[in-house]
Amino acid sequence: MTSMLKILSRPFVAKSSGDLARLGVIVALAGLILFGALRYDNFLSPFNILSFLRYNSMFALIALGMAFVIITGGIDLSVGGVAAMASVVAAYLSPYGWLPGLAGGMAAGLIAGSINGIIITRMRIQPFIATLAMMLAAYGTALLLANNQSVSVSYDTGFTTIGQDDFLGFPIPAWIAILAYVLGWVFLERHPAGRHVLAIGDGEATANLMGLKVEKTLFAVYALSGLLAGLAGVILASQFGAGQPTEGVGWELFAIASVVVGGTLLTGGSGSVGATLAGALLLAMVFNILNFENGLGWISLSAYWQSVIRGAFLLIVVVLQAKLMNKTEAN
């Protein structure tokens, strides 16, 4: 009897596809850093590292929100538009102080995300349609508010500190992103509600039967994604000194690609905060390396290659995921 149980209890699928992909992204990131460090003189210079982190923190924040959404099996196409709208709101509020600017931008994002959540959970409209519409509405709102122009922020209230200054020798946006990722990690890995997000992505019907509050959780996830997009918008306005109603085009794709490259299954139920960060950094690094490569003058790869390369990354990861999934299903 005991030996029989031993046989039974042995796992029969060797590796999970998510673990493999997560390992892959970290290896790829390390490889890319090594490649850059060996090939270019200033690649590991403080200037390059800090400006890399300062600029890419926004994308990292959006990718974090997207990771939660995708873990539930959904998608949020509105993040770019929401960030643009939040940047405009933050710019308008920046004369009243950095806090109103920050809070206003985040509130704008939260509201947009909450509307997504309501449309998806109450009206039962597919996430991609609901958030696609929100993307339009957010751009529309941003352009309306901003009168089709960029809106200068106030330089007197300390608002620009958020995006431009350093704290302990490290860019503030990077601190914000690090904090968000730490909180995100604790939430997903250690908090019951975070585990519920994963369980819902594993199967909504099952989660319901197990007594989880599916609708509330889904709503919260979209609200969170909106909130983080709003925060990214605040950083955008602060870093570039203006609320930019036409910025953010394609951000959602960057975020989705980061999450997927980070090994999160698009079908939901699996995902990691750390690997999402690695995915975002990896994709941003591609762009950074392209810049250096052009600087060397050996080739002149235009910046346009980056979207091709991102697409290629996405393709490889998605095909690999599909193959692994089919294999697991066959078992």
Binding site: M1, M4, S9, F12, R190, H191, L198, A199, M210
Partner: protein, 498 residues
């Protein structure tokens, strides 16, 4: 009594699913609940768990009258359900699955992962299961997953565990482990409602049995006082009179050439070793209890599921299809068991549903030959007596019997050599049943080979020239026409042949 459900009735849009059904379970008792598809078992359970609301009747649980309006409420009262498709989150760990929605927390409100791990390991240990509780449940076998689900129920302080066909995807070793678990539950005073079809298993593990048919409780007794034959008879019922009009072919069926021959076919755990033959112009039946592998055998022949072992020949040529399209090209048709899922395209018209398989032969330069299409459809509507407002009516508006006739016509118009028909009269009223069987008979008389899968005894007795009995994925007996009788069929199905 732990649970007593009395005179439960339930109708869906006017169609009765339960008519005054009853069920009682004592503490620490294992109660078997059996019945054919559509007998009302799942409706009864869904009413018990609060997924559906009863129209009338009384439910008492632990001595008080209860009304559950959601599954969460019944769970809170101590009723846990282990579904056929085990309801665990596959990618979450064993420990998480046991505690999901009731996680132990630290003072910070975070997960107390140690308490979870230790608690999970401890409860699994009571079932003699020593596994790494940090691994995702998807990595374990079906039997282990089932035990994890049971462990979850135990930690929820369940008083009654409902198990919906728990052994359907288990092999023999796993079944014995599951039964060990059930005995442990019993010892702790937990009652089990065991829904299953494998008779030997029922006799092994259950104390009492409730048999349902047509939404009613037709028998309730202790397991020991219910002989197998009696059990099967109760389940299958008897409506023979309606079919007496169907005349059997008088010719000597054993001299006709073999059209379809299936030898030792197997695929997965559902079909292990099935052999059968269908001769030209005969109706060959497949009988067996639910889960015996009947539908799966048909799917293998038709190229839907992969043939893993054995061989299939048609007119003495070996054939193996990877796509239904190949089988269709060879003159085979399949009318599936579940019209809604595998049969109709609900929003398309009768005309289109009927000619879907024929379309490739109905085209002139890629365009559907509408005149011929209409001709064919009109002919079959008339020949089969499909009652409809017009051929352009969406098929979803038709009654079950008329939908079935359209699906039958879908294949007949392709002029097949072999027609496989899975539960030809499922969900059809008695008058239409006889009509469809007569139709099959006359088609066979014209030379068509029919392979008819049926759960209804009287149907097989009335129409089949030969019946192959499947049990647990194996063909266990073949009854020729002169051997066919109610007793012979029943005893073969009750496993008293070999």
């Amino acid at each position: 009594m732990l649970l007593s459900m009395q005179d439960i009735s339930k109708a869906f849009s006017g169609v009765a699913a339960l008519r005054s059904a009853s069920l009682t379970i004592a503490e620490g008792e294992v109660m078997a609940l059996v019945g054919q598809n559509g007998a009302g078992k799942s409706t009864l359970i869904k009413i018990l768990t609060g997924a559906y609301q009863r129209d009338s009747g009384l439910i008492r649980f632990e001595g008080e009258d209860v009304v559950f309006s959601t599954p969460a409420q019944s769970q809170a009262k101590g009723i846990a359900t282990i579904y056929q498709e085990i309801n665990l989150a596959p990618q979450r760990s064993v420990a998480e699955n046991i505690y999901l929605s009731r996680e132990p927390k630290t003072r910070l409100g975070l997960l107390d992962r140690r308490a979870m791990r230790e608690g999970a390991a401890a409860v699994l240990k009571t079932f003699n299961l020593d596994i790494d509780v940090d691994l995702p449940v998807v990595r374990f076998s079906a039997a282990t997953r089932q035990m994890i689900a049971i462990a979850r129920a135990v930690t929820q302080k369940a008083r009654l565990v409902i198990m919906d066909e728990p052994t359907s995807s288990l092999d023999e070793r796993e079944v014995s482990i599951l039964f060990e678990t059930i005995r442990t539950l019993k010892k702790n005073g937990v009652a089990v409602l065991f829904i299953g079809h494998r008779l030997d298993e029922l006799y092994e593990i259950c104390d009492r049995i409730t048999i349902m048919r047509d939404g009613q409780t037709v028998a309730q007794s202790s397991m020991r006082e219910m002989p197998k034959m009696e059990l099967v008879r109760h389940m299958l019922g008897k409506e023979l009179a309606a079919f007496e009009a169907i005349a059997r072919d008088a010719g000597n069926d054993e001299t006709k050439p073999v059209r379809l021959s299936v030898e030792g076919v197997g695929s997965g755990v559902r079909v292990r070793d099935v052999s059968l033959t269908v001769r030209e112009g005969e109706i060959s039946g497949i009988a067996g209890l639910l889960g015996a592998g009947r539908t799966e055998t048909a799917r293998i022949i038709f190229g839907v599921d992969r043939l893993e072992k054995g061989s299939i020949s048609i007119d003495r040529k070996e054939r193996s299809y990877t796509e239904p399209a190949d089988a269709i090209a060879d003159g085979i048709g399949l009318v599936s068991e579940d019209r809604k899922i595998d049969g109709i395209i609900p929003d398309m018209s009768i005309r289109e549903n009927m000619t879907l398989a024929l379309l490739p032969k109905l085209k002139k330069a890629g365009i559907v030959d509408r005149t011929r299409q209409q001709e064919i459809v009109a002919r079959y509507i008339k020949a089969l007596g499909v009652k409809c407002a017009s051929p352009d009516q969406p098929i979803k508006e038709l009654s079950g019997g008329n939908q079935q006739k359209v699906l039958l016509a879908r294949w007949l118009c392709t002029d097949p050599r072999i027609l496989i028909i899975d539960e030809p009269t499922r969900g059809i009223d008695i008058g239409a049943k006889a009509e469809i069987l007569k139709l099959l008979r006359s088609l066979a008389d014209e030379g068509l080979s029919v392979l008819m899968i049926s759960s209804e005894l009287e149907e097989l007795l009335a129409a089949a020239d030969r019946v192959t009995i499947l049990s647990d994925g194996r063909s266990v007996a073949v009854l020729k026409r002169n051997e066919l009788s109610e007793t012979a069929l029943l005893s073969a199905m009750a496993h008293q042949v070999n």
